[in-house]
């Protein structure tokens, strides 16, 4: 169950129930010879990009499951302004040469130069003179229109991805200035996405849909599809195969954690969507490598009879796997709000943090449904190096769904269609084309096999969407030099922008993440 998908568990239960109680299901021949699924070929047609789906209402956080690198880093390595000179413009009608002479005399200047393409002069002043004070002095003169120090400018890294303008979430946390400092990390940093899988592979898998099913107890019956070949493709905005490391599927018990839902691919996009590539949208840490680890089963996995569901033990195995296979950060946009504590998961998360892995956990989307916190997040307040993340909307107010609890330690943009921006107030990333994937949302007569090789840009909202902002942020910090999980958490909290009541609170935790200030760190005195 993903955190954008809280009612998925009931859908899965209903699905399973319907499958189990359907007459005549036993004794069917197994065309896959006992295998859960079979990889048919590791080639496929190029992915289809169906563009922006901004007319589709964002996937609701509580909706049922149908649900590089190359940055010009030209910032200056100097002070605010160039010492030893100031800019001055004399008023029209002033005798320039006389004005220059008397001005130079006033400020002990050494000369004046009129650069090309300029209607102003650059005055040379003593190197140790205070340029601000000199400019003040010049401005007081009757013949001066303006005077100012020669302030340095630098790039404000702004991705050229055409749909970046729809991504309010990055400017909202000052990412453009943060990317000036740390442009997207590098492939040395690995972020594990423990989720519904990731569109990381181009291949065709053969599944066996053996059982008719209902999505809800009173819903229509969908027929068994029998043997179906499902095409998969790498999400174009996640890059090529080299972008992915150590994939692992704990739902299907193999090494092909392909996404049959779209949630994991969307989350991976927020962490590491290719950026500045003149295509689509941007991601937080766009040069990192992604470790796809599938620990959540969604509707198609159930329809196809996956051997495992996303239980605590499966998730815990995924956490341990990621920690043992080189992950620097684990993103858990998953969880459960029901049931008791999860010591198996707490143990696994402690293990991961102990291995130097930072863990970001979604706080949950239940604020309007009893406000039950994500059980996985309960461990984070007592474990430095794991944080539980709440969500804000475009107005930077708490998202209507974002679960509040003592576990919430930080906030990040998760989207909120009730705040500014309406339906575009959610988080836009590329993921699987839900029209072609979620055929179970059609009437039974139109129900057919899914396609997982077609992609579009969707707005999703939820603490699932907030959490990868923090995971991507952690990747930038690791690249910048803060390598200890506890220090990453400490840094994020120290520089977070306080929201709500002064100090840490159950709504926003320490506040909204502030990547630019955090990445810049501390000088000696400031």
């Amino acid at each position: 169950m993903t955190i954008t998908n809280w009612r998925g568990i009931s859908a899965a239960s209903a699905l399973a129930l319907a499958c189990v109680t359907w007459p005549g299901i036993s004794g069917q021949e197994d065309p896959l010879g006992g295998a859960s699924r079979r990889l048919m070929q590791e080639i496929g047609l190029p992915a289809i990009d169906r563009g922006l789906r901004d007319q589709d209402f964002p996937r609701d956080p509580g909706q049922t499951s149908t649900g590089p690198h190359f940055v010009d880093r030209t910032s200056v390595a100097r002070g605010d302004f160039e010492p030893g000179s100031v800019i001055v413009k004399f008023k029209p009608g002033a005798d320039r040469s006389a004005a220059v002479s008397s001005t130079l005399a006033q400020v002990s200047g050494g000369g004046a130069e009129r650069p090309s393409w300029a209607n102003f002069d650059v005055l040379t002043i003593p190197g140790d003179a205070d340029a601000d004070a000199v400019a003040d002095k010049l401005r007081a003169r009757a013949d001066v229109e303006y005077a100012q120090p020669r302030y340095f400018n630098h790039t404000m890294y702004r991705p050229n991805d055409p749909l970046y303008t729809n991504q309010w979430n990055f400017p909202a946390i000052d990412m453009e200035r943060a990317w000036d400092i740390q442009p997207g990390a590098t492939s040395n940093v690995v972020v594990a996405v423990l989720d519904t899988g990731v569109a990381f592979k181009t291949a065709t898998f053969r599944y066996n849909s053996r059982f008719p099913f209902r999505l809800t107890p009173d819903g229509p019956v969908y027929p068994a599809l029998g043997i179906v070949d499902v095409p998969f493709a790498i999400a174009p905005e996640l890059g090529n195969a080299s972008r992915f490391v150590a994939p692992r599927d704990f739902i299907w018990d193999d090494e092909d954690p392909v996404d049959l839902d779209g949630h994991g691919t969307h989350v991976a996009g927020t962490i590491g969507q290719l950026t500045n590539n003149n295509l689509g949208v941007a991601g937080m840490a766009f040069n990192v490598r992604i470790m796809p680890v599938k620990v959540i089963a969604e509707t198609w996995d159930f329809i196809f009879g996956a051997p495992n569901g996303g239980t605590d033990d499966v998730v815990a195995r995924g956490v341990r796997y990621a920690a043992d296979n080189g992950a620097d950060i684990i993103n858990l946009s998953i969880g459960r709000e029901t049931g008791g504590p999860a010591p198996v998961l707490e143990d696994a998360i402690r293990y991961a943090v102990g291995r130097g892995v930072f863990v970001a956990i979604a706080s949950g989307n239940t604020r309007e449904q009893g406000n039950q916190p994500n059980q996985i997040g309960n461990i984070s307040p007592s474990l430095a190096g794991a944080v539980t993340v709440g969500a804000v909307g475009r107005s930077l107010d708490l998202a209507y769904y974002s679960t509040t609890s003592p576990s919430v330690e930080l906030s990040a943009p998760g989207g909120d269609t009730r705040q500014a921006g309406g339906s575009s107030g959610a988080i836009l990333q590329q993921t699987l084309d839900l029209d072609l994937l979620e055929t179970f949302n059609r009437p039974p007569a139109q129900f057919g096999p899914p396609r997982a090789d077609s992609f579009a840009y969707y707005y999703f909202q939820g603490t699932s969407m907030a959490t990868p902002h923090v995971a991507g942020f952690a990747a930038l910090l690791v690249q910048q030099g803060i390598t200890s999980p506890a220090a990453i958490e400490d840094a994020m909290k120290k520089y977070a922008t306080d929201k709500g009541a002064p100090g840490p609170d159950e709504q926003f935790g320490a506040g909204l993440i502030n990547p630019r200030a955090t990445l810049r760190g501390l000088g000696l005195a400031r």
Partner: protein, 213 residues
Amino acid sequence: MRTWISRLAWGVALLAIPAAGAAGAQPVDIKGYGMVGNVNFTAADSFDAVLGSSSGVLFGGGAEVGIPLGGLYVGVGGWRYEQDGERVFVSDGQVFPLGIPVTVQVTPIEITGGWRFRNFSQRFVPYAGAGWSSYRYKETSQFAEAGEDVDERYTGFHILAGAEFRLATWLGLGGEVAWARIPDALGEGGASEAFDETDLGGTSLRLKISIGR
């Protein structure tokens, strides 16, 4: 700053002239000096975290006037310390360098009054003094925007002791140790806040070459 120092030096000299007149017999000693040395900052953890060392080389100079009242003298001097480093994050005492260049300049001006123990030896003159210090602290770093760099001046005091060896009538070689306290200059932010260090002062060892009597 040089202008400031020279104005102060001339001021001190002018003040000394009436005193010399009053004393009558003893001439006014005026000398200028250049110095090189090493400073160890009291805020050792902060300097070490950001600049890789809590000590560094200083260069400076100044002027002294021996007032004809026994061994009394007044002086004004200045020096500069500059070091490059990188910005850091400090968590639980652990320092994480962030690779963002930072440059720190410390430029003190010291006005000192002291006593030269002339009767100790003809050529070897120990001395001790104390006075007022004004430290300009400047910190610039990459990616800084308006208001994020530091350029402030703080005041405190210093004490010093040393000895001068007269190589010739107009040439002396000396060494001194000085200790300064510049309270509340640090500790409001940056690594110094993390280490709870507030004093910009420190201990310096200086080698001085003086010209004059």
